[in-house]
Symmetry: D2
Subunit: 344 residues, 4 copies
């Protein structure tokens, strides 16, 4: 931690700051520059928020942290990339580029069965589908709840695809865990620390989506909540951030994939459906994700998006999803990864 003093800070005040830092258990080193004096605090910064409080002292201009606050999620702590198994024979983070696909919401048995069959035949490896839905409006469809979970399990039985579904409420963890192979924590809950701790104690792998205004550092701290409770199987998902640009629903931050792959050993996938909010942009951004170094994709597919109960505008029809998977193949090869074969 570096404490920067304002120009003209009196010696007495510099001494006060030094003493405070040492009381908190750090060694100090005072550096006198041309205009400003800087105090380096050496020691473990796990307690760095406490040092931030020094900013409330007069003549302290800034307190600059040096260590990243995350630990278990960090590549400094664990150098090799992690492999997160989902169901009996899929793993994210290895040589295979894993495509997760399915509808935004589970709506009916025919809808989920048809989608599951179709996406499997085209090379998807995990089925997604929402049973509990976070909706901006209390008047919008909130999901089929347990009935939705049952239908997902039925689709898994039929296709063999493991299933991932979102958890909104700690009350439902047990119920969701009974059916799902992987638990999704959505963008709006990325800093719902009560929920993160809860899934940290669960046995299932966790798909953690970045929030709309979560920095990469905060995103890793949210992963740290899950890891620090003992659950090492976390997959991160970039799904777009909120910016001034309104031509797309969100701004898909593909550089975040590079930054994450550098700083963490956890796998990183990309969701171009939410990331763009428009089916016309899903395929190019899926292709782009391979270049950025992603370990896989999450794609919304619906048999008829025009009647979807949620996220219709960004869902692909089965024929468009087939096209995506066909175009994806040479890009995955260019990235020196493998893709599950298309059937038939």
């Amino acid at each position: 931690m570096i404490v920067v003093m304002e120009p003209g800070a009196p010696e007495k005040q510099i001494d006060t700051v030094v003493r405070r830092i040492e009381e908190l258990g750090y060694r100090t080193h005072v550096l006198r520059g041309v205009e400003k004096t800087v105090i380096a605090a050496l020691g473990d910064e796990r307690e760095k928020m406490r040092l931030q409080a020094l900013r409330s002292l007069e003549y302290v201009e800034d307190v600059v942290p040096i260590l990243k606050p995350h630990k278990l999620a960090s590549r400094t702590w664990k150098k090799e990339s992690s492999l997160v198994p989902v169901g009996p024979d899929v793993a994210i983070g290895g040589p295979e580029f894993v495509v997760i696909a399915g509808p935004c919401s589970v709506e009916s048995e025919p809808q989920i069965m048809e989608t599951a069959t179709v996406v499997k035949s085209m090379g998807a490896r995990i089925l997604r589908g929402g049973a509990f839905k976070p909706r901006t409006s209390p008047y919008a469809f909130q999901g089929l709840e347990e009935e939705g979970l049952r239908l997902l399990a039925k689709a898994r039985e039929q296709t063999g695809l493991p299933i991932v579904t979102e958890l909104l409420n700690p009350y439902h963890l047990e119920q969701v865990a009974e059916y799902a192979d992987m638990i999704q924590i959505g963008a709006r809950n990325v800093q719902n620390f009560a929920l993160l701790k809860e899934v940290g104690r669960a046995k299932l792998p966790v798909l953690l989506k970045r929030g709309m205004s979560t920095t990469i550092d905060e995103f890793l701290m949210s992963a740290e909540y899950v890891l620090s409770e003992g659950n090492a199987n976390v997959v991160l998902c970039e799904r777009g951030i909120r910016t001034f640009e309104t031509a797309t629903r969100n701004t898909l931050d593909l550089a975040a994939v590079c930054v994450l792959k550098r700083h963490t050993h956890l796998p990183v996938i990309v969701d171009p459906s939410h990331g763009t909010g428009n089916w016309q942009y899903v395929t190019p951004m899926a292709l782009a994700a391979t270049g950025a170094g992603a370990d896989g994709l999450m794609i919304e597919v619906h048999p008829d998006p025009t009647v979807a109960w949620s996220d219709g505008p960004q869902s692909l029809r089965p024929d468009k999803f087939r096209e995506l998977m066909q175009k994806l193949r040479p890009f995955v090869a260019a990235a020196e990864r493998t893709l599950a074969p298309m059937e038939g």
Copy 2:
């Protein structure tokens, strides 16, 4: 709802869209402009997300909603401003400009007692203090939990100030409700819909903070979650949004106060402590809030911010808080509101 067709959309496709809209229960009206055709859908837009799905049809360029999605929170629905009572003799939203003050976290009995006594003597009307703390890092102090609630209740007993404290986890609602006069939902939980529904069924007034990247429309929809469960006592709090500017912790969006006061009957207060993240900017932004039309303030005060367990940099020392309250008085008068007198 206005459906905009791309230039050159074939008649057949326009017919398809019209039919779809009518199937969803709307009347339609087709308007042919010079370059584009536009289809107006007349009817209740409560189901508007369904219409959004039309964007997945080819040749549909855009779907523009006309009605605001909120209802109970809207001034169209209720014209007079709402008054939200907190404890036996305070109410937010009336002629009184209400100041809420207290530490970020409850840390100890002397700390909360001293703060409560001091802020009361200077004209604060409600005591704030966190017992359950949402922290970016799992390794940071997470709050004194029930012990914190007990200390808050003790401070109320001594000073008569009603207390507001944050709820993070639906599991703790009963416990928090036992002690608190008002429940705070923090910025990170503004779209934690499970939690919103839970406090919507509680009897206590709710202080709902805007999220770091929540639009004003989404903020009102989150209030709508609470209102639609039957709890009419919601106070909104602007606390800064996330932008590219890093000179302040957040960008305090005071114009949001004007926009909210225009569109909703609910009271709106401002938190310049989180809004700026720097004690040096708290007082001027508190004064500014009066001009913007706020119904009150929420201010972090700590007996010694340099040893605060959280949010030290943005907390005011008692002498600085006194200064704020003194400067505030003529601004509140200029805004034609009243402020509780300072003691002694």
Copy 3:
């Protein structure tokens, strides 16, 4: 400047970095923390961008500047607040709270004459009006050009108000300087360094507007361009930044006023017309600006905004401007500033 090395950086690489820093003329100091090594570079950072290049060395994680890059604009360099004279008897930055008002564009003689007379009678001290207009569309009205300047001068003659008008093109400097009392550099040109250098060599005071995505540090560097060419009379204007929120045209960053007043001696005014883009929010944000510590306001006024050639939605009718000035008076008094009296 602090150079942060990655964990595990080899000694040899640390030596290389130290040597490079010393070659650039800095003294170095190596600090070895628990996880990371940090190298402090002591010396003048005027050349700091050169040090940034060290980030391209392997094992260098970050390069953190300590000194602010601005000099002449800084309060460290000049402690007392600057007073910028505009015309013979107005000055911005002193005890008087100065209101600049007028139409977005000069449209006709009756329009500018009527507006000038009206705003003067209500207490405005400087007349604004655009003769050269920066328009997003090449097909939109681009201003009356020299004819506009002539009409402004005529309005000055009639009312005695000094005039401020925007300069877009270095070619027009001489022409504009012939008529105007103050030159405005608009938000879109805040980093048009060719133009900044040009007005830095002019004799007239400069009104510099913050860009839509200009950080406060960059804003001060743009002022530094003008100051470093020898023109000391710069007034800064906060006019809203671009964020994800669309309920207002921009997000008026009033905290920027506090930050600027702390770091620079230059006067700071606020433009709530562009800052909100909506006449309904102009008055409350104007009142709020007094609390934030602004030295004045810039307000768009038009005899009939519904027929304005530009910025109609955010312009005030004369009766609304009178209301603003009436409400403003007690706020200016609360801020311990003075306001020119209203006539009649």
Copy 4:
């Protein structure tokens, strides 16, 4: 254009709005919904900014444009993609994926000669290099100016690569045009309309970079400025936008490429050097750009970035650039485009 009236707007006011719209030369159509009345204005929206002024009328809630404001840049106006020739044998926008490479600034003859030779041998087709540099600080290196232009011309002579260089000041257009094959307008000047008009009258192709907070619609309007002056050879360049995320210098908005390719016939390239600000992320984002549908890249290369006078942190060493070009080849093939061969 759709004018939305507030709920409860009186009939008289609706009539007033209708009359105003008709006075501006539009046909109107009044649609009465359940809660709100909406007035459709049919006609050419070239004058739409005038209609926006209706928002200043009471009871007008919103004015929603339907037509995009750009014309010459639009695919509606010209369906086939444009091909922009640069120098005698390069063209951007066709089957070839064109790589532009070179240093941020021209610093010396050996530097530019070495870089030009090296990037050519690896498959770059155009040489970039700044002679006039837009720098945040007036104290930073501002470019070699005409000497820089001369060195660029010498490098072209030696390698045959056409050159692109930035124009900052309309005064220098003639000088720059004498040497360059393509004129770059930088991000900070994207709304410097004086400069845009100037290059619109030039004979050379223009490389127009998106500004840090320019929306895609505004970006196209800036292109429209150049096109409407008669210069049809415009190439757009996505180079990152400003968001809350600070892990990268900018947030590279690759989805903007898809949106642009859909709405305009102009070629679109990507600059991952400025887009990320960190050499470690340049290669993955370059690869990603192929998937997004870009027509080429602009990459900063420097013989020794650690001594670069500007942009060192984001510049590639020649060996890293070679690696980029090698990895790029299969991605370009996957995108069904061609890439110039590597020599030797």
